[in-house]
């Protein structure tokens, strides 16, 4: 078993190579002068310039950001309330139903969520006239629904971990339940709210399948535009776009992680 000591690091190293090589290649070839992926034609930033002049991509990016922002905010509200109900109320009639509904989206294939929501929106439009057609609103609703599931998981684990006696002591000191929630519970679970929001935000920004089902004319999201482009093959301006997205997300995630671990220490966890 001497080779065991070599085997594990080697497999782990190759595993990380497998995870990061494609991302690295995206970044490297975004600066390639040539349009061909395998041929290095010299350093260039021309694809970035091209990207910035592409109104279709810029428009879709703007739509995606708006959708991601609104749906993540909605998701965090629904997710927090659901997590609070599930972790703080001892029992209520619809508890197991709620628990099932908030976790099921996590394991449901996107194509099923997308199809079912679209069919319902169409049926609702026929019955009550709302939503009138598909567009940003329907995408926001769809993203908020599965975003809430992810947010609820993150927040619920924080709520369960937290020392519940600090909520009791606040009640004991004369604060009413809703006051306790805003004064004590929310500040203490704030790091989880931040990570839940970021998670819902990136999931929304990333989603292609559900958005394809429930979007309407004029509401193509960034993934939808990218998908239609890359179906035709590799295109260097998509590499440039990928590099920008990866950069923004990496910086955001690392900053959030540092912030959360800091405030986590401060809150004594």
């Amino acid at each position: 078993m001497k080779n065991r000591s070599i085997f594990l690091p080697v497999v782990t190293g190759l595993g990380f190579l497998f995870l990061y090589a494609p991302i690295a290649s995206l970044i490297v070839f975004s600066f390639n002068e040539s349009k061909l992926v395998t041929v290095w034609g010299g350093f260039s930033t021309k694809w970035y310039g091209e990207l910035l002049r592409d109104p279709q991509i810029l428009g879709a990016a703007w739509i995606s950001l708006k959708i991601a922002f609104l749906s993540a905010t909605l998701a965090i509200i629904i997710g927090t309330v659901a997590a609070f109900a599930l972790s703080r109320f001892p029992k209520f009639r619809t508890k197991s139903l709620l628990n099932w509904m908030i976790t099921a989206p996590l394991v449901m294939p996107d194509v099923i969520i997308g199809l079912s929501l679209l069919l319902m929106f169409v049926a609702m439009q026929g019955l009550i006239g709302w939503p009138a057609g598909r567009g940003m609103t329907t995408i926001i609703i769809a993203h908020a629904t599965f975003g809430a599931a992810y947010a609820a998981v993150v927040i619920q684990s924080r709520l369960v971990d937290m020392d519940m006696s600090i909520e009791e002591v606040a009640l004991d000191l004369g604060a009413k339940p809703m006051r306790v929630f805003f004064d004590i519970t929310l500040p203490v679970i704030a790091p989880a709210l931040v990570s839940g929001w970021l998670l819902a935000f990136t999931l929304s920004l990333d989603d292609l399948v559900i958005a394809s089902f429930v979007s309407g004319p004029g509401s193509s999201t960034l993934p939808m535009v990218i998908f239609s482009k890359v179906r035709l093959g590799v295109s260097p301006d998509v590499n440039a776009l990928a590099t920008i997205i990866i950069l923004i997300i990496s910086v955001g995630i690392i900053a959030a992680a540092i912030q959360i671990s800091r405030s986590g220490k401060k809150l004594g966890n």
Binding site: M1, L8, P9, V11, T12, G15, F16, L19, Y20, A21, P22, I23, S25, L26, F29, V37, T38, I78, V81, A82, A85, F89, L97, L98, M101, I102, V107, P109, D110, V111, I112, L115, S116, L117, L119, M120, A123, A142, T145, G174, K176, P177, M178, R179, F181, D183, L208, V209, P223, I226, F227, V230, V234, V238, A242, I245, I246, I249, S250, A257
Partner: protein, 318 residues
């Protein structure tokens, strides 16, 4: 005792302001807290499935929306027309059965490979010193946050005939002819393993990190060689993590659409793609609905296994 015997009054902060409005509407905070997420999920998650079930029993027709109504009101008589034709159609046309089988096969093979790569990685991370462990874990999670679509797209550049892998292999003289990898099942396996590897590693890690070093030391103290310790102690204790990780790869892989669409070939027939095509190309909503419901039925067992494994590992940690 500044205000003896009377309930204390606060100076109307946001919370109690909200509370007063709610109580005027006859709502208690607790009811509202339960009602908000329950109603939302009921309307936007549960009801849609019922709509899918209903439409799967109707007939496709050229109309807006493109399906027949399953009930109609005729001179005070409610006529209910249930059309099981869509389901029969799925049975008759071998394409659908083949697509389900192909999906299960691809998901299964990908899961096995993800486990073979993920287990040593999770084990290494779990056994590494505290300072390094969080960084490694972060490195596993980070790709998950960056765009899934773009990461799959990156593989096109790697796998295509004049792509990076072939260029490397040709340059080093390992092969003389470029390999055809893109638009094959192989590319789909790579894409799925690549995309869902973090889902395999994280539950495995969570499970392995709880493994007490003393257990391994006790086993070797009692005469077990490392390989024996691994087979008799580490592996049995990791079973809940293995099951949870495998299901977290298997379940989404079954319904996968983007990966076969970008990396797979014309023969790669996965059920997610079939559903997509029925809906977007054929505009046959009833058949698409039936395909979705049958897919759900296929997923019921893996989802139940996942729930059980998660409950087991939660129970073990408490």
């Amino acid at each position: 005792m500044s205000s003896p015997a009377t309930p204390r009054k606060t100076k109307l902060p946001f919370g109690s302001f909200l509370e007063r409005i709610l109580s005027k509407l006859g709502l208690r905070g607790r009811t509202l807290v339960i009602a908000i997420p329950t109603l939302w999920l009921f309307v936007f998650f549960l009801v849609p499935f019922l709509v899918v079930a209903k439409i799967s029993l109707s007939e496709a027709m050229i109309a807006r929306p493109p399906y027949s109504s399953i009930w109609n009101w005729d001179d005070g008589v409610l006529n209910l027309t249930l059309n099981f034709g869509n389901y029969l159609f799925l049975l008759e046309d071998t394409l659908y059965f083949a697509a389900y089988m192909e999906s299960v096969k691809i998901a299964f093979v990908s899961t096995v490979f993800a486990l073979l790569i993920g287990f040593p990685m999770a084990y290494t991370i779990a056994r590494s010193p505290d300072s390094r462990r969080n960084i490694l874990l972060m490195l596993v999670i980070l790709p998950f946050w960056t765009s899934f679509l773009l990461r799959v797209y990156a593989w096109i550049g790697f796998l295509k005939t004049n792509g990076l892998i072939n260029a490397f292999l040709l340059a080093t003289g390992i092969i003389d002819e470029p390999l055809i990898m893109l638009q094959t099942d192989f590319a789909v396996y790579v894409g799925i393993v690549y995309t869902y590897l973090p889902f395999m590693i994280l539950p495995l890690y969570a499970n392995l990190v709880k493994l007490d070093d003393a257990l391994l030391e006790a086993a070797s103290d009692l005469g077990a060689k490392p390989a024996m310790t691994f087979l008799t102690v580490t592996l049995p204790l990791a079973v809940p993590g293995i099951i949870a990780g495998s299901m977290l790869v298997f379940i989404p892989a079954i319904g996968e659409f983007v990966i076969p669409a970008l990396l797979g070939g014309p023969d790669t027939l996965m059920i997610g793609s079939v559903l997509w095509n029925e809906f977007f190309s054929n505009r046959d909503w009833p058949v698409a609905s039936a395909v979705a419901l049958v897919m759900l039925a296929v997923l019921v067992v893996p989802i139940m296994i996942l729930r059980k494994a998660q409950a087991a590992s939660e129970g073990a940690s408490q």
